[in-house]
């Protein structure tokens, strides 16, 4: 079993997690009891058709939303019971987000975009140096003062990855990171993520439609109707 080979404790530990949405008068279950463990250094792809609860699960893992029931331990911290402002601190310290549409602030340059997570943290020392180092690590050391509209899509997504890494989070959560990119830029971004995972041992959770993207992950989690399909069911 793979589990026995993992000496460390899971960085993501989700137990019997459910989430119901209110749709008018009726409650619609989006997640119906998810159990998922992800270990440090893993690269896991979450797949599933639209409506399968894949976005909801990503929001739960990203601490953007609270579950209806169940437990979620992130880096050994029980986050499923935390209040809004406590979740904000968890997102700031433990999670790096990469979005499909980059979500860079257009008014400010790449460097300032990368400093944003530092500004919301308690440790603001060497803000610029840290942000510069993060931009260098994604290969954009020469474009730190470019505004988002002066960068290509692939470059913008790399700025977003630098921003996600700058606070040295426990996990990198990428939601369709190549969804808006042409195949060449998409490949560059995927290479960057793979490299981070292999060289820096960064834990990456990847949400994607694309089987070719998912195939590059070490493990694929298939979601269907708010439940994880076992490998046997998937095959």
């Amino acid at each position: 079993m793979e589990l026995t080979s993992q000496a460390s404790r899971p960085v993501i530990d989700v137990r019997n997690l459910t989430k119901d949405y209110r749709l008018g008068e009726i409650m619609v279950p989006a997640l119906r009891g998810i159990d998922l463990q992800i270990f440090p250094g893993e690269m896991v792809a979450i797949m599933g058709p639209s409506g399968s609860g894949k976005s909801t699960l990503m929001n739960m893992i990203g601490c953007l939303d609270s579950p209806t029931s169940g437990e979620y331990y992130l880096d050994s911290l029980l986050v499923s019971d935390l209040k809004d402002d406590e979740l904000a601190i968890v997102r700031n310290q433990k999670i790096g987000f990469v979005f499909q549409n980059y979500n860079l602030l257009p008014r400010i340059d790449a460097l300032e975009n990368v400093t944003l997570p530092i500004r919301y943290s308690d440790i603001t020392a060497n803000m610029r140096q840290r942000a510069e180092a993060a931009l260098q690590s994604v290969g954009l050391g020469d474009r730190i003062h470019h505004k988002p509209n002066q960068l290509s899509g692939g470059q913008q997504q790399r700025v977003a990855i630098a921003r996600a890494l700058v606070n040295e989070p426990a996990i990198l959560l990428a939601d369709e990171p190549t969804g808006n990119l042409d195949s060449q830029s998409g490949k560059e971004v995927m290479d960057l993520l793979l490299n981070l995972n292999q060289q820096e041992n960064t834990t990456i959770v990847l949400v994607t439609h694309d089987p070719k993207v998912a195939a590059q992950a070490k493990r694929i989690v298939q979601l269907f109707d708010g439940l994880i399909k076992t490998p046997e069911e998937a095959s």
Binding site: L64, D65, D85, R91, F99, R107, R119, Y120
Partner: protein
Amino acid sequence: MKIWQALKEAIASLSANRTRSFLTVLGIVIGVGAVIGVLSLGQGAEASIIGQIESIGTNVIYVFRGNTSEDVTNPNSLTTADADALANRTRAPHILNISPVLAGQSSVRFGDESTQTSIMGVVENYAEVTGIELSEGSFFTESNVTNRSSVVVLGPELAERLTGRQTELVGTTVHINNYPFRVVGVTKAKGGNQFSSPDMDAYIPITAMQLRVKRQSIPNAVDFLLIQAQDSQSIDDAMQEAKSILRSSHRLSSRQPDDFTMTNQQDVLSIANSITSILTIFLAGIAGISLLVGGIGIMNIMLVSVTERTREIGLRKALGARKFDIQLQFLTESAMLSVFGGLIGVGFGWLLGEIVGAIAANSGTPLVPQISLNSVLLATLFSLAVGIFFGWYPALRAANLEPVEALRYE
């Protein structure tokens, strides 16, 4: 997030939308400008009125016929005999000078030029009591008063209107009420206000006034008495002395109330003060309403801004912004907008005051607008308060957005 970072971000965000920011603060600019303008003009008016009253002398007491606070039937007229009775150094040691005044409107003619103005029948020490100074000639003398001489001292504006000049007039003749009067002096300009202008007056001996201009049923009756106290400290003593002298000369029993009213410059000053401050507060209050309107404008734009930047708010929350951080960000923006508008408004108000002051000066009313540091501080703090008050709700709305919803917002 620290305050200075919030300030930096607010500057960036507001300058990204310069036109909108400027239009948004116009309401505050106009509101603060109006308040500052009104306050500066009010303070200027107050200073000007007080200056005029003080120029007459603060140790002057006015005595009028009748009693405004108690019912007196058939009050005695004030007469020149009253004035003579008051000029009693033993009974009234604190009284320096007395000038009875008999005033009336009459025509004044010089050659073909003629005008209607107020003629003041006074005695020789009127000039001293009221602080009138002469630019040429001299005020008429005691013997002019005893002899009922037809002599006149002209105000400079009156002289200008009649003769086209203010100098070389001593020895010329003007006709008052069709009687010839010899000009003996011209007063220096004193400035006037909307109520009276001493520069348009003509001064003649009170005896000549009684004889040729204003004939009366009681021959020695006067309109009012001016009493000059020794100095401003002895005003109360002088009033007491004058009161007892007038009561005895009017033969009032101890149960009868005074049939005259006394007031002094200090009373007039405090009344003038309270009138100008009530007016100023009233006008500033009206001007303040536009500040309110400006505040609503800021709230409106901030709400639009929150909606426009929903995704940005969602992203910031995903990156770790707490409710407080978001609220601080938007409050800083609205407060900065408002204070910025307030500062422009101070300049605008200053300009407004200067313009109105210049117009007033051109029409002969000296009015120097005064902007105090207090009113500038007040306006700035008030616009800060407006910004925070009207920015509160939009900022709260931004802070309470759900990160998932906000990130998904298109």
